[in-house]
Symmetry: C2
Subunit: 335 residues, 2 copies
């Protein structure tokens, strides 16, 4: 991992990085042969020999404008969980378990305290998931980024046995859709949410949020579904498809894993909608249809499987709600 930059405030940054580097090293599993300081991070994959037919699954994503809220409130402690868990969930959709993570942090100028807090959060999130923060890069580009604007990008690499890839192909009409609850907005819809609350006080406790502040609710970290979904996959149940509900909501994500000719019906009222969503709808005068197009609305991760196995699956998953069914047709209908 090499943290280079365009040449500004190198010394203060070096100190912040020194502190964070210990937290990064704490994420190293025995597979990490060389991390900090290396041109490329080295990760031993001899264990892949235990796989009959290993397939790597990789995904790159950005955390989006949730960084603007973190900057506004000075609260960066969840941002690493946001991008790490988002990435873990993205490859989990295909049945992969994560191997390692890499980050990229860029801004007009990286204030050492902010950079240190972001790296600490990334390290904590990787450690919670049991994967190393294998590499990363920082950049300071005042000509590209607004003053105080920061982007956080992550890349995850995982592995799945080829004959255990969950690819949606076996999905059938009548299959049940189980939903794992989201912890809030996760990492999507922040442009709309920020606009809705433009004139609101972010730090005042609100009754609608059970006494939490808007900042608390909006900055709630993206949840990882690694543990419950791993239990499900290890139970050997016939999982037909899975979807991580990110930008575009259920209708933008579930159809990506359904075979042609199949759609879904979701029954409203069958899962808990976190109170932040009706609050955004009211504050921003957003139509319900738009809400479902932009946000996860509490449906964080969907699992599709035959009805005969739905009850077993619920038990393996822990908290999960049967929210709908696969039907012939296309698209997603809420009713």
């Amino acid at each position: 991992m090499k943290y280079e930059d365009a040449g500004v405030n190198i010394n203060r940054k070096a100190n912040a990085l020194k502190a964070a580097s210990e937290h990064i090293r704490a994420t190293y599993t025995p597979e990490v042969l060389w991390g900090l300081g290396a041109f490329g991070g080295l990760f031993d994959v001899k264990k892949l020999k235990d796989y009959a037919h290993p397939v790597l699954v990789a995904s790159t994503d950005g955390v989006g404008t949730k960084t603007l809220l973190a900057a506004k409130t000075g609260r960066w402690e969840g941002i690493g969980f946001d991008i790490v868990n988002h990435s873990i969930n993205d490859i989990l959709v295909q049945g992969a378990r994560p191997l390692f993570f890499l980050d990229y942090v860029a801004s007009s100028r990286l204030e050492p305290e902010v950079l240190g807090a972001v790296l600490d959060s990334l390290a904590a999130a990787c450690q919670a998931a049991g994967i190393p923060l294998l590499g990363g890069e920082t950049a300071e580009m005042p000509g590209v980024y607004h003053k105080g604007g920061l982007d956080l990008v992550g890349t995850i690499v995982g592995v799945v046995e080829r004959d255990r890839i969950v690819d949606g192909r076996r999905t059938q009409s009548g299959d049940v859709i189980l939903a794992l609850p989201s912890s809030g907005l996760h990492t999507n819809g922040y442009s709309l949410a920020r606009k809705a609350f433009e004139t609101w006080n972010l730090s005042e406790p609100l009754d609608e949020l059970g006494g939490k502040t808007l900042a608390d609710a909006l900055l709630e970290p993206h949840r990882s579904y690694l543990e419950p979904v791993t239990r499900l996959l290890e139970a050997g149940l016939p999982v037909h498809a899975m979807a991580h509900i990110t930008g575009g909501g259920v209708e933008g994500n579930l159809p990506r894993v359904l075979p042609e000719g199949l759609g879904a019906v979701i029954e409203k009222g069958t899962w808990p909608v976190p109170p932040i969503f009706p609050l955004i709808q009211r504050a921003g005068h957003v139509s319900e249809a738009e809400m479902y197009r932009v946000f996860n609305m509490g449906l964080g991760f969907l699992v599709v499987l035959p009805e005969a196995h739905a009850e077993e699956a619920r038990q393996a998953l822990g908290e999960a709600y049967p929210v709908g069914r696969i039907v012939e047709g296309e698209g997603v209908a809420f009713r």
Copy 2:
């Protein structure tokens, strides 16, 4: 690969992406099981079973403010080669061959023509290197990026046999340093270069540049050293260390791969310095020491090995210059 966004100009973007997606698909090797549309890109690594002890090497990097020059001149055709080749060289340092690449493109607003040109360039660079563009993401964040400001981030994953990792540990005093020439600035030092030429005409042919324009010279794509270095490694020569000369110049990069107690002496005048460097120095009134700290000065990639093998190594590498030696001490001295 999922190209989602914050909800602006989706349709024009969809069209640009449709055209680029064919070029992206053209990069797919037989190992790619699922690319465009997938939550995570799937890459078959059954072939890793042929390795006695495979080690993955991964690196994330950004292309820096070269994007500002590309935007200013409207020339995006080289930018994909910049980030792809930069990434390839970073893992080549440890002896790894690339397996696949992922990209992230973000801006205040992604004009479809610009996004299409960037993705086309990424696809062309991946195809030239024989690796798939396995995944990627785009983001539009007007609150984070300046109008017209664009960041391009890449992640590469490669593989090396564990007992063939080049880690610098065997480097000895007296070893020869061979330099592979750079094609220009590569992806570093653009803040300084843009400042130096702030008032210059970028599109006027200059005698000092052999009739090329400043735009030509500054936008010259980052060179890949994959082919010559692969020939070198396959020749079985005892390569002790390699370094990719990026931000920080030789003194910021070569010591990263040298054991403690060893430094280097580089003899000026032993390799061709591309004419853009003396021009930057003159235009920006930059000291020579500063030039060597910021730029590669023509030294794109360094190979360190025992003198007894230097001539064989030069033949395997093609164009390469003996530019100095490893010495006892620390740091890098130019003389």
